[in-house]
């Protein structure tokens, strides 16, 4: 496996990932309505909006996490490098390797720190011990936690602090060389110092990955993202450069939400 080659060329109109007329249903309930937007390489996109607006549902559509919900249904398409990820021929395991995910609550396996990061490699059939060791070290370094754990790689991951566990989970996601990293409220269970570390990490990671983050914390969206997308009632209301969204949004609903005057 090689580190993904991604150009940082801003002139390229090509999106790493994009959704087109995406509808999503939980049974009869239409949770997403005609969402069309794109995500550029080496950029951080923040999805914001009130609870129930569809932002997490949308995030989970991007690596077909919602497939696990039996009554769900998707219309429209989502492409990764131009390929529709909802085609029947797509290998979902391979897709999720390319489009990794970090969850709200740190969820390390009840195993050693080393095993947590190596796990994704092992299930992908990689047995070469030296390669795995190097890959674990590199992933832990990229997740900015190597210095804190390098002397206790065989200790249980459950002994780490919440912030360390979350960075371990990020290392675990990075170990399988994803191209896109989805983050669902990655810092909401962490204290301000751990949050700052995660945000700093996001800044570093965006040089190599396409990052899409769902957050309830508007200041966090403002701090970490290049593009902000505001969702409301299953619709994408407005998406644009983060500095524009937070200084002069064009839609009144966006303005009302980010200034705390909703409803």
């Amino acid at each position: 496996m090689n580190v993904p080659e991604q150009s940082k060329n801003d002139d390229s109109p090509e999106y790493k990932m994009s959704s087109e007329d995406l509808d999503f249903y939980y049974g009869d309930f239409k949770a997403l309505n005609n969402v069309t937007m794109g995500f550029k390489s080496c950029e951080v996109t923040a999805l914001i909006g009130p609870s129930g607006c569809g932002k997490s549902t949308f995030l989970r559509c991007l690596n077909r996490m919602n497939d696990l919900i039996p009554i769900s249904r998707v219309d429209g398409k989502i492409t990764l490098d131009g390929e529709n990820i909802y085609l029947p021929s797509v290998d979902v395991v391979m897709l999720r390797r390319k489009v990794g995910m970090v969850f709200q609550k740190p969820n390390p396996f009840p195993k050693s720190i080393f095993d947590n990061v190596a796990y994704g490699l092992w299930v992908n059939g990689i047995k070469d011990k030296a390669f795995v060791r190097d890959c674990v070290e590199e992933s832990l370094k990229r997740a900015a936690i190597w210095d804190e754990v390098k002397d206790r790689l065989q200790d249980t991951a459950l002994g780490l602090s919440g912030g360390q566990q979350q960075r371990l989970c990020i290392a675990r996601a990075l170990a399988v060389k994803p191209e896109v990293v989805l983050m669902d409220e990655p810092a909401s269970a962490l204290d301000p110092i751990a949050t700052q570390k995660i945000e700093e990490l996001i800044h570093q990671l965006k040089e190599m990955y396409t990052i899409i983050i769902v957050t309830h914390n508007m200041q966090q969206a403002a701090r970490v993202s290049d593009v902000t997308a505001f969702f409301y009632l299953g619709k994408l209301i407005e998406a644009g450069d983060t500095d524009s969204i937070f200084t002069r949004p064009t839609k009144k609903q966006t303005e009302d939400y980010i200034t705390g005057r909703f409803g």
């Binding site: 508007m218 200041q219 937070f246 200084t247 303005e255 200034t259 705390g260 005057r261």
Partner: protein, 220 residues
């Protein structure tokens, strides 16, 4: 009403109070210059401290709200605009003081060697300030744009004052009253600066409403 909105309302009241005080002083200029009112001038110099204190209070209040509430979008633009308008109002207060000092010097001459009628110029500057403050109160972008247009007229009147006073100086005996003439001329400079600050206020109002910075370029 949310706590944050109450804070913003309080700041709005504070800046409008400062606006009212400054506007009141500016309204006195026309008569004071015409009659060289020394009493008015002394009072203005004495009262400037009040404006300075209000300005500091407003700035502190804005900084507090920014630090505690991290405002964005329209709220952020409002606070940035208030901080700048606050500064402009305080400077207008200073220009009124400058005019007051010129009046005191001019009044020392028992007989005025030359007179220039500043009524029109003072009227226009006063109007510009009133309109810019009204545009702030009513969020009226059209009115703010009108203020920007009036600024050229004030500049033109300043040029006329310059030409006339220069001419008076060059006439026979004019040079003996050079101090008087300079003080008289500087009044035009102060009124013109005052009008510039009113223009700034109007520009800030446009920024606050539209999120667009219109400084340094010609509108209309």
């Amino acid at each position: 009403m949310i706590h944050f909105q109450r804070e913003l309302d309080k700041i709005k009241k504070m800046i409008l109070s400062l606006g009212a005080v400054v506007e009141h002083r500016v309204r006195g200029i026309k008569q004071a210059v015409e009659d060289l009112e020394v009493d008015w001038s002394k009072e203005i110099v004495h009262l400037d401290r009040e404006i300075d204190e209000m300005e500091v209070d407003i700035e502190e209040e804005c900084l507090k709200v920014i630090a505690l509430h991290q405002p964005v979008a329209a709220d952020l633009r409002f606070l940035v605009a208030v901080i700048k308008i606050n500064n402009d109002l305080e400077r207008i207060g200073d220009e009124v003081v400058n005019i007051a000092r010129r009046i005191q010097r001019l009044a020392k001459h028992p007989v005025a060697p030359y007179q220039f009628d500043y009524t029109d110029m003072a009227d226009k500057a006063e109007n510009m300030l009133r309109m810019s403050l009204d545009s702030l109160v009513n969020q009226d972008i059209d009115l703010a744009v009108k203020v920007l247009c009036l600024d050229d007229e004030v500049d033109e009147l300043k040029n006329i004052a310059y030409d006339r006073i220069k001419l008076a100086l060059s006439e026979e005996g004019g040079i003996e009253d050079v101090g008087y003439m300079i003080n008289l001329l500087l009044i035009s400079r102060h009124i013109e600066r005052l009008a510039d600050h009113a223009t700034n206020i109007a520009e800030e109002v446009i920024y606050m409403i539209k999120g667009e910075i219109v400084r340094h370029r010609k509108l209309v």
